[in-house]
Structure formats: C-alpha cells, structure tokens
Amino acid sequence: MKRRQTPRTGWAALAPPLAWLGVFFLLPMIAVFAYSLATREPGGGIEFGLSAENYSRIGDSTLYVWAILRSLRIAVIVTIATLLVAYPVAYYLALVATRWRVTLFVLLIIPWWCSILVKNFAWVAILADTGVLNRLLLQIGVIDQPLKLLYNEFAVVIGLVHVLIPFMVMPIYATLERLDRRLVEAAANLGSSPLRACLEVVLPLSLPGVAAGALLTFILGFGSFITPALLGSERTLMIANLIQGQFMEAFDWPFGAALSMVLLGLVLVLLACFNRLVGLDRLWGPAR
C-alpha cells in the first residue's frame, strides 16, 4: 500500500518545531559564543569583537581554575558512587526480581519524578547540625558533638547521587533486560561460579548501558547548580554557580559567557566521544 506521507509532508511538519528550536535554542548558543568574545565597555555596554580576553582571564584566575577542577572532581566522584549504587538495583530488577519487579520499578520512578528542589532541601533537614540524623545519633549516644554533615562537599555528593540514581539505573536496566540469559546459564554449566559469571559475562555485556548512564550522570553532575547552591558552601561552588554569579550578581556577562562556553565545550567533547564509542541512540533509542 502506498503511504501518503512523504518526506515533503514530513518536512512540513518538522519545520515549525525546528524553527522554534533554531531561534530559541541554537541562536542563543551562538549568542553566548559571541558574548564570550565581546568586551565590557566602561559605561556598562558590550562591545562585540573577537577578544580572547575572557578566556585568558579564566586561566589566570586560580579561583576559576579550581572551581572547574572541583566541578570535574565532584562529577567523577558522583558518577562512580552512583554507578556503584545503581548497578545492583538494575541487576536485581532485570535479572533477579520476578514478583516484585513492577512494584520496584514504580518505586524507582516515584522519587525520580519528585521535584529536585524538594529532594535537595530534604537533605538540609536530615544533615543539619540540629537535623534528623544528628539528633538521632546524639540520642543513642554514638556521638556527643553534632557532626558537620551539611554545607560541604560530602553533602553535595550525597544530594547529587540521590537525584541521579535513576538516570544511571534506567540505561543499565535496559541493556541487562535484553541480555540473553542463556549466556549466563552456559557460563554456569561450564563451571564458572555465579560471581565469575556476573563479572565475566553480564558486566561486559552491560557496558553500553553503563556508559550511557555514566554519561548522563556526569553531565548532570558537572553542570549542576541547585545542589551545590543548597547543600554546599562558598568553598564548594561549582562552575554553574560561578556562571550564575557572573550573570546575576557581578553582571559581567561576557565573562559569564566564556565560563558557559568552557562548560558547553567539555560536555560536547564528552557527547562526541560517546557518539563515537557507543552511539547517541543509546540515550534515546534509534530513529526507526
């Protein structure tokens, strides 16, 4: 049967959304790039040009270099911690759980959908000096001084891991679910222990899912703004907080734009590597 929809009607339907994203997504990215090459005039205006001054200012300032390195370090720690926590959950959901599978799946989606703001400030109530956890520990006598758990890197990492677990579980689950279970049985039949079968058969086959989850977690952690703002301190500011400061407090937009381009550049490099090694489809499924 001949279908009436052709590439031409397809393009007609695609034109409005693509135009919308062109004007309100792509064009703004170009504008940020243009701003990052501009300079501030003494009067407060912007002079567009091709100056690399803003970029060299980032390199000259230890504050900004440290913040970028700190953001990278936090993102790496968060990605590894989230992977260690998420893998058992994905493994259990895909290969072990039977009766409880659907329930556990729903129970994973519920916290995923909760507002990130709520999920973050919940940790303030738990980790504060007079918070739920410290009160409990004081009461049972494990400690006699409240532990400093909040407004430091530890709190930022906990908050981010808590938010990002589902982003890691989902892609790993998707690869494990499609895994041919007969391979595991074959490994067992050939005499390998369950742990060895898991490490040598299941783990390698799930690596594309791990890569997709790690990519999402790393990007979201690296660019995170809310969590370091609520759970961190002046000393744990991440790159997104510095960008916000330049735009909303220091009003040095060209410099803020240069910082944004550094963040965007690193993310694009990661996405390109991922596309080369695994394929971007893995994040959202192939265009059939």
Partner: protein
Amino acid sequence: MRGRAQRRPPGVGGRAALRAVVAAIYVFLFLPIVAVVLLSFSENISVIDFGHFTLRWYEHLVRNAPVLAALRFSIVLGILASAMAVLLGSLAAFGLVRGRMRGRAALQAALYAPIVVPEIIISVALLILFVLLRIPRGTLALVIGHSVLILPYVFSIVSARLYGFDRSLEDAAANLGATPMQTLREITLPLMLPAIVGAALIAFKVSFDEVVGSMFWSTAREQPMPVLVFSMLQFELTPEVNAIGTVMLAVTFSVLGVYQLIEWRRRAELTGRSAEGEKRLG
C-alpha cells in the same frame, strides 16, 4: 552437575546479600522525601514527632499571599508552556516518524538536544537572546524557555506511540474514500489523543518543577513557585518550606496519577478489543 546448572546467578547467599543492598538503596531513595512530608506535619522543624501532628504550617501557607500567587503563576505557566510544547513536539514526532527523510538520526539528536545540554547554559543563553530581542523577563520569556526545555519529553512520548501505530486503520479510511485531512481528523488524531494528553501532563509536570531556567527568566512579580522556594531556602529551612514542598509533591503525583490512569485505560481497552476480536474470529 545438575544442581549447578539449575542455580541461577547469583547464588543463594549472594542473592540474599543483593536483596539487602537493594533494600538499603530504596530506603536511601525514599528517606529524604518521606522526611519532608512528615516534617511538614510536625511542630518542630527537625523532630518527626509522631504523637503531635499539626496542620499549622499549612494554615500559614493558605494565608501566605506570595506563595499562593506563585503557585497560581506556576500552574498558568505550566499550562501555556505545555500547550506550546505539545503542539511543536507532536508536529516534530509526526514529521520525523512519518516522513521517511534522510538524516533522521541527526534530526532526532537535534530534537533531544535541550535535555543533554546543561540547564544553566540554556538559561543564560536564552537570557542573552531575550535581551538582544528586547523580550522582557516574565511570562512570555518563561513560556518560551519552558517550551524549549519540555519539547523533548513531548517528542519522546508522542513518537514512541506513533512507531507502534497500526497504520492499516488509516489505509482503510483512505480506501473508503476519506481525504488525507479527514483521515487525520477522524482516525489518526483520535487514536493519538491519549498519547498527546499524556505528553501534555508530563510536560506540565516538568515545567512545574523547573528551577534553574525560571530563575533567570522570571521577575519578582512574575515568579513561579520553585523560584520562590529557592529564594526562601537562601535564608533558612522553615517548616513552612516543608509544607510547600509537600504541596509540590502532591501536584506532581496528581498529574502523574492521571497520566497512569490514562495509560491503564488504554491498555485495558487494547486487551479488551483484541479479546473481542478473538471471540468473533473463534
């Protein structure tokens, strides 16, 4: 040999350990959220006191004019932005799934781009554009910004359903003499309606909880709820914030609940229909 073959990974002891680890992770996931809800009914900000539940903080909320205004604004913004995103996202899904053009993988990547670029970058980039185009911060800027951020969600939901769409129904309509427009109106759109409504609900939810972009695009007078909550949190965590958080969770879950109901109904209808068909054939 046989015993070993029947054993599934990991072994019995290993499986108990795995179960304990998974249970602990679920506790970790839920503990903070449950704590917020319980604390919102508690007299003391840091003590979950099961004996003394109070609605005091909610009574404070009901009399807090800025909070109510922000809540109202968030709902209006969510409706406007998701309407925009549903229109554009559905068009994109139809175009990409039905038009069998080249370079669809690249087009798809472009449509998903707003969810892989860090939010802070989209936030400042659009702010710069708004300044250049002389679009003031406030409702219009927020609707535009949110529509960009939530478009990928709509596209994802609608295109997933379109891939599974039974096109023989459209062919039948065409064979019976329906024009392409009639087929679209009478067959395609009604069948796609649950997916489109579902996409609208998810889009509303994402807009309702959006923080970073909203901070950059709003003004003190036209301010969505999460931005107000964020600025309240800059000072301290009050029991009232716990109550607002609980209200926000309640809105989220009502929206998701409706989404799930639509899904269940659709599934039930599908299985009902195929069972009926089998009966007729039998």
